[in-house]
């Protein structure tokens, strides 16, 4: 595909472009968090429950203990985005492997793998993640892997469909005639062609994973050492009568981030399939 035409179509989509700008800002904020707020964000800096705007030095106010909400939010961006990215990576690796095998080899392997996908779609996702977390312990890596395990099925289905469409094309047949092995055909020939729509879907899985992690942390079952946005919402929950902004602000951050990731995903999708754009 022509790369500049692709970029051109993407950048003409105002929503997607705006989403990309916001995500870049959130990501750089998260990356620069140690420089922007070098002290521990969980340190007490002022009186508790200062409303946003009450003190110019603390634009988003303080929480129930007097901690700077902006500092916690910026540090939380790092945790939230990284968890979303890694969980999506886990889901993509599982989904692409399963989908590629099912689509390429077909037959009983396809049947078995797709039944497995159906199984993972049947188990209520959050209940599964909570079960894994409670049995194996609530660490960051367990949460990331658990979210990946419940999020891979759509990626597997899409990869399978792409492989089914590509596996009998001329260029693949030519490789077979040349005596190329299955592994090289799958990884070197079909996968690069199947990947673009899969990457679009992975970007949407990042959004889903962020929502997922925020729900786990909100319930207080996340990694106790990580202050992600979901946990900040949960922490503020007891104070909704006197200081509802403590829950409102990090929740707004989750919503804006997920919204922008969805806009980017939609924009990539439209740019990949220009014919479908007007649907």
């Amino acid at each position: 595909m022509d790369q500049s035409a692709f970029l051109g179509r993407f950048s003409r989509n105002r929503g997607a472009l705006g989403g990309a700008v916001v995500i870049l800002m959130v990501a750089s904020g998260g990356l620069l968090a140690p420089a922007l707020f070098p002290t521990d964000p969980l340190r007490i800096v002022a009186a508790p429950e200062l409303w946003p705007g009450q003190d110019p030095a603390l634009p988003l106010g303080t929480d129930s203990l007097g901690r700077d909400i902006l500092a916690m939010l910026v540090h939380g961006a790092r945790a939230t985005l990284l968890i979303g990215l890694f969980a999506s990576a886990v889901a993509t690796i599982i989904g692409v492997s399963v989908g590629a095998m099912a689509g390429y080899f077909g037959g009983w392997l396809d049947e078995g793998l797709m039944r497995g996908a159906e199984l993972f779609q049947t188990i209520p996702n959050l209940i599964f993640v909570l079960t894994i977390v409670v049995i194996l312990g609530s660490t960051l890596s367990h949460i990331v892997i658990a979210i990946g395990i419940v999020s891979w099925t759509p990626i597997a289905r899409l990869t399978r469909a792409e492989f089914l469409a590509l596996r009998d094309r001329e260029f693949v047949q030519a490789c077979r005639a040349m005596g190329m092995g299955h592994g090289r055909i799958i990884l070197g020939e079909i996968l690069p062609n199947a990947l673009p729509p899969v990457i679009v879907l992975s970007s949407l899985v990042v959004a889903g994973a962020i929502l997922f992690e925020s729900a786990v942390s909100f319930l207080g079952l996340g990694d106790p050492n990580v202050a992600s946005w979901g946990r900040l919402v949960g922490d503020g929950r007891q104070l909704i009568r006197s200081a509802w902004y403590i829950s409102a602000i990090p929740g707004l951050a989750i919503m804006v981030t997920v919204l922008c990731l969805n806009l980017i995903g939609d924009g990539l999708n439209d740019a990949l399939n220009p014919k479908l754009r007007d649907r």
Partner: protein
């Protein structure tokens, strides 16, 4: 006569579909059970040690009984077989925390969750489909834009956060709605009271799905309205309105129904979070309590029964799908 025959053959087809789906469900259920079994064995240390420690069981006779109940001294395959056998008899173990069999603890909490799920799905389906139809009939107007913007918003908002914000606005500030629970404490109950408590949890859980259905319904309506049979109907001289509502709508519903079936598990999972926000006395509250107190038998029981619920709901959705689309034949 012909009509009667058609009805009975449809009923026969539905029964065949039901039987086939039930047969297909067996390996799925077995898979869920095996995953459960693997999870038990992944637990660090002995599952039994953890369970006895958490529940402060120290009596050697009880521990021995538990060892025997859970077959801890048997080879793994025999343990699995025994586990399957126990589950077949709905024996999910005993919950010391509630002091009753796990199945009973779940059964007590199930109706509240089913009520919340049912009302949320109903809301999501009606609002989503209506919004999608309006957007597609008024495509590229303010209405269409409004539906898209609202759908984007509710698709991105975390449900628990939406719930908390609704509590702040409608319960704390305006006082229109109860903060949580299922009935007014000390009130004389009644259906109206429960419905009053049901409004906000339903909105918090259902609007996310309404957003999805609105988007799918809109594009599905636009796609079906391009189909040949729609042009034929228009060429026959039927009004645009009749064609849209009579022909397009029914066919455009199919993808929405498919998604509804696929998402049944996530709706159940979503209700876990919403129940925690609104102190709704359902499976979610039980699960949250069990996770916090590391009450494994209940957690695993909810995982298995939740999956069974999803399988049953999927079969129901398949039957609806068949009723909607007469072209679907039994393979």
């Amino acid at each position: 006569m012909a009509g009667g025959l058609a009805v009975s053959s449809r009923r026969l087809a539905a029964l065949k579909l039901l039987r086939r789906r039930l047969v297909q469900a067996v390996p799925l259920i077995l898979g869920v059970v095996v995953i459960n079994f693997v999870l038990i064995h992944l637990a660090p240390g002995s599952f039994l040690d953890l369970m006895t420690a958490e529940n402060q069981v120290s009596d050697p006779a009880t521990v021995a009984l538990l060892r025997k109940t859970y077959g801890m001294d048997d080879p793994v395959w025999l343990q699995l077989a025994k586990y399957v056998w126990a589950l077949l008899h709905l024996d999910f173990g005993f919950s010391y925390r509630q002091n009753m069999p796990v199945i009973q603890a779940i059964a007590i909490n199930l109706p509240a969750t089913l009520l919340l799920m049912l009302s949320s799905i109903t809301l999501a389906f009606t609002v989503g489909v209506a919004a999608g139809v309006v957007a597609s009939m008024k495509v590229r107007t303010t209405w269409d834009t409004l539906v898209s913007v609202l759908a984007m918003f509710f698709f991105a908002a975390p449900s628990f956060w939406l719930g908390i914000m609704m509590i702040v606005l409608f319960a704390v500030k305006l006082g229109w709605m109860p903060v949580g629970g299922m009935e007014t404490i000390g009130g004389n109950g009644g259906i109206l009271d429960i419905l009053h408590h049901l409004v906000m949890p339903t909105l918090a859980l259902g609007l996310f799905y309404a957003a999805i259905y609105a988007r799918v319904m809109r594009s599905s309506m636009l796609e079906v309205s391009q189909a040949d049979f729609v042009r034929t109907a228009r060429a026959k001289g039927l009004s645009r309105r009749r064609v849209t509502l009579g022909h397009v709508l029914r066919n455009a519903l199919l993808p929405v129904v498919t998604i509804l079936g696929v998402q049944m598990g996530t709706v159940l999972a979503g209700s876990v979070v919403i129940e925690s926000v609104f102190s709704w006395p359902g499976i979610g509250s039980l699960l949250f309590d069990s996770v916090s107190s590391r009450n494994y038998p209940v957690v695993l029981g909810i995982l298995v029964l939740g999956s069974l619920l999803v399988i049953a709901a999927n079969i129901a959705v398949d039957l609806v799908y068949m009723w909607l689309d007469p072209r679907i034949e039994i393979r």
